[in-house]
Symmetry: C2
């Protein structure tokens, strides 16, 4: 059949359009999957049906943009079609749902099919549910890691020591990566950091960094950046390292799920695939953070260090205070602005963010074998070397802003004030995240919160607690209405 490129995009799902007569001839219906082939290029797609000859003619197949981008064919090119039977991995997923364990081969087939987009969203969702409810064993996690690494690209920087860090998340504004990476690089270590986009928060490190510079680097561009600066801060998804992870994250998003075993596998697979040898993991614990209890944090710490050892990586876990948002900005642009202020020691920056980043850098320098790690980290920050290195990396990745005041933020604004006077006892991370997300973060990068008051501070009735920003009047209203009902602040 002949291709006709249509200018319709779904935002992810791969769709082709067939004429009713053609679909009947092949024996497929709308919603079925089909494999489109041309030479070595191959794509799995869902079928939509039409009987409108203005859209496509008989003997033609309409490519939605997602398929067009994969196949890169022109209207009129020929492709062959073949029917896809249900992949075997679907039966492995059903097995896991029934409570049975998955072996190395099952896991590999599932991850391979997810990577090749052979599974539908519904099937992938069942896999995530199963991992969430039937907790993965360490052995399953190790299989998962190997499957993720093997079904993606692997990087090699040709160095004996490659440092890395990761934060479990759930604490809004917690952009310590952007402090730790320049410190470690300034200390002379290689730290090619890849991050993912937000799962449950108003912004992931990648979302925030994208405001400041390009993060969608190819592997060769990333290597150039690392060669010249010893570091990078790029989006892992663009690396094609463990590409299945981004598909899984997309499915986790609607319910803000993040099953422990899968999270562990995802983190360590990405670290291992980029060649990391020493990795610090930060688990912030607090109300509304991803991990709310120290007992659970310690359980995950043990699991991380054990699985890390099994795959030949030095992994150290540190449990930190996650009882309130770190930093003042929440949401991509607001966090980026906060970060620049903080690194430049502008008084509008966040001392808490700077201190936490410096502490984590010290922890990582210790794991790397430095004799006086915390002193070293502090010296690099105080001397301005960290700031210098940060801008060096931004420049190498294609800097967008070096002046915090020039970063555009949401044009619709609303301030939330204290209902009564008193001392701030607690700030719920989940509520703050929810308000920022209702305002449009992270897809609206200018949306989010700027927090004026933190834990232990005293406020008077009518004082501004935070301001909400959004580029959509409707979304601002949603966020404001929610915040007026529930601000997340406990003032006593």
């Amino acid at each position: 059949v002949k291709v006709r490129n249509l200018k319709i995009s779904t935002g992810g799902i791969q769709v082709v359009l067939l004429r009713k007569e053609d679909a009947n001839k092949i024996g497929v219906r709308h919603g079925d999957r089909i494999c489109v082939e041309s030479g070595k290029k191959k794509a799995i797609s869902i079928i939509d049906i039409t009987d409108d000859s203005k859209l496509i003619k008989k003997g033609e197949i309409g490519f939605f943009k997602e398929i067009n981008e994969l196949m890169k064919l022109k209207t009129g090119n020929k492709v062959s079609l073949s029917i896809i039977t249900k992949p075997r991995s679907v039966y492995h997923i059903a097995k896991k749902l029934r409570g049975e364990r998955l072996n190395e081969e099952d896991m590999n087939e599932i991850i391979k099919d997810i990577t090749d987009k052979k599974l539908t969203d519904i099937e992938t969702t069942y896999f995530v549910s199963a991992c969430y409810m039937q907790e993965l064993t360490n052995r399953e996690i190790i299989s998962f890691i190997h499957a993720m690494i093997n079904n993606g690209k692997k990087l090699n920087f040709g160095k004996k020591i490659v440092a890395d860090k990761h934060c479990i998340g759930g604490v809004p504004g917690n952009r310590t990566t952007c402090i730790v990476v320049p410190i470690i690089a300034a200390a002379g270590y290689l730290i090619p950091k890849t991050s993912s986009r937000s799962i449950t928060s108003p912004a992931g490190t990648s979302d925030t960094m994208e405001v400041l510079c390009d993060i969608m680097l190819s592997i060769s561009d990333m290597k150039k950046v690392v060669k010249s600066t010893k570091a990078c801060m790029v989006w892992g998804g663009a690396m094609d390292v463990a590409p299945s992870d981004d598909i899984l994250i997309k499915v986790e998003h609607p319910l803000s799920l993040d099953p422990i075993g899968q999270m562990l596998a995802s983190v360590l697979a990405k670290k291992k695939a980029v060649g990391s040898t020493h990795c610090l993991i930060d688990i912030p614990v607090g109300k509304g953070a991803k991990i709310e209890s120290r007992i659970k944090a310690r359980k995950i710490k043990r699991k991380f260090e054990k699985v890390g050892k099994a795959i030949g990586m030095k992994v150290k876990v540190t449990i930190t205070d996650g009882s309130e948002p770190i930093g003042n900005g929440i949401g991509p642009a607001l966090e980026a602005r906060d970060l620049l202020w903080t690194l430049k020691k502008d008084k509008r920056g966040s001392k808490v963010l700077l201190d936490k980043g410096t502490y984590l850098a010290g922890k990582l320098l210790k794991l790397l074998g430095e004799p006086k790690p915390f002193k070293l980290a502090k010296k690099i920050v105080d001397s301005g070397l960290a700031e210098k290195k940060f801008f060096e990396i931004l420049k190498a990745q294609g800097i967008r802003y070096n002046d915090a005041n020039k970063i555009p933020i949401g044009k619709y604004r609303a301030s939330i004030t204290a209902n009564h006077s008193g001392k701030i006892k607690a700030i719920d991370n989940r509520t703050i995240s929810r308000i920022a997300r209702l305002a449009g973060a992270p897809s609206d990068i200018t949306a989010g919160l700027y927090i004026y008051t933190h834990k232990k501070q005293k406020v008077s009735k009518g004082d501004i607690l935070f301001t909400i920003y959004s580029n959509s009047a409707m979304k601002l209203k949603c966020a404001k209405d929610y915040a007026l009902e529930k601000s997340g602040y406990v003032i006593k």
Copy 2:
């Protein structure tokens, strides 16, 4: 914005198309949900994006067929759009995934949002997964039933006694409904039977009946049929009775899941909503049937009878032999043909199917209070009254075939023969179903199997066990390859 109807159908998912500029103005992206309103009509839809002015102009919204059918507007009509925030029910689903229980109100919100199509496939899948892995309590099942009944139409036939039956399924070819319903109606009772389409089998009762007559009746047409014949055999989905169920079934389909609690709720909600007072439930037990152990069957029996009582219905469960396919035809058209042969006592029909149907009718007559129920059922069959009543119902619903030999079946055929001589010890239901489904059943109604040999029969090497039918040469090949490797027959 102005409507433009597009002739594209997805097969279920509700999609509208927006121009990129318009989407940016409103603050939505592809994949977001939007509410389309016109007067009292309202529909929730997923957004696709285009920048092609040939498809739609600025200020226009493109309706895919699914939305067009719901809204019934003409190109050029005006509609208003509003952004949808994440429904609260998503948080209830997350709660259930974490292992917490759902109360009456949570359950009602979930079912309401599923019914209103406010939940995406991914979110609905999480709900099904949660019900599958965190087994619903009896209290949750009762809430589920009330939620399903309240979010759909209710029927009232104005009679004190309304009989009904249901089979748990998993045994291919098991079309006893079509024997039981005419017997009960011929005995003078009202039995307005609604069925669903296939979940895990090559055909549901609705799929098979649709070959013979119209099953997509409106409530008023169904009432006319029941008034004139005392019975009907229609598709429940077209009744708008517990409409959420068909959305759930669609999501269960890919993994052939059917969580016990949800199944119980679905069955009893539909029975209660159509006003049934006395209901017989058949649980076939056997290898590859939905229920494989008698212990589990008895557990479900107790749950059914207990929950039935709690919602004020007389429910009786009978556990039957499900150790091999019942009847000779598997797949919609092949089962329909088999059924006509069986009722007309043609020698190509199935005695086992007739006997089982008659037995179940006896059981139901007993529940209805008949003094000699089994004798009565047999008399109705032997006298030809059952056959007469069956055709009376078909005619009232718009008969398509009364001659079995005229029903078209798959034009591509392949016979599977015995590898060696011996006695048939077992036939695995699941394998038979899978072969029929690979051949294209139920979406290809002509696809499936005709079984020549049953359990306990002796066969010689080379004897035909069954013939596979399909309208797609590719699908026939898939089914045949699978059957050659694994026929489901144990011959010793």
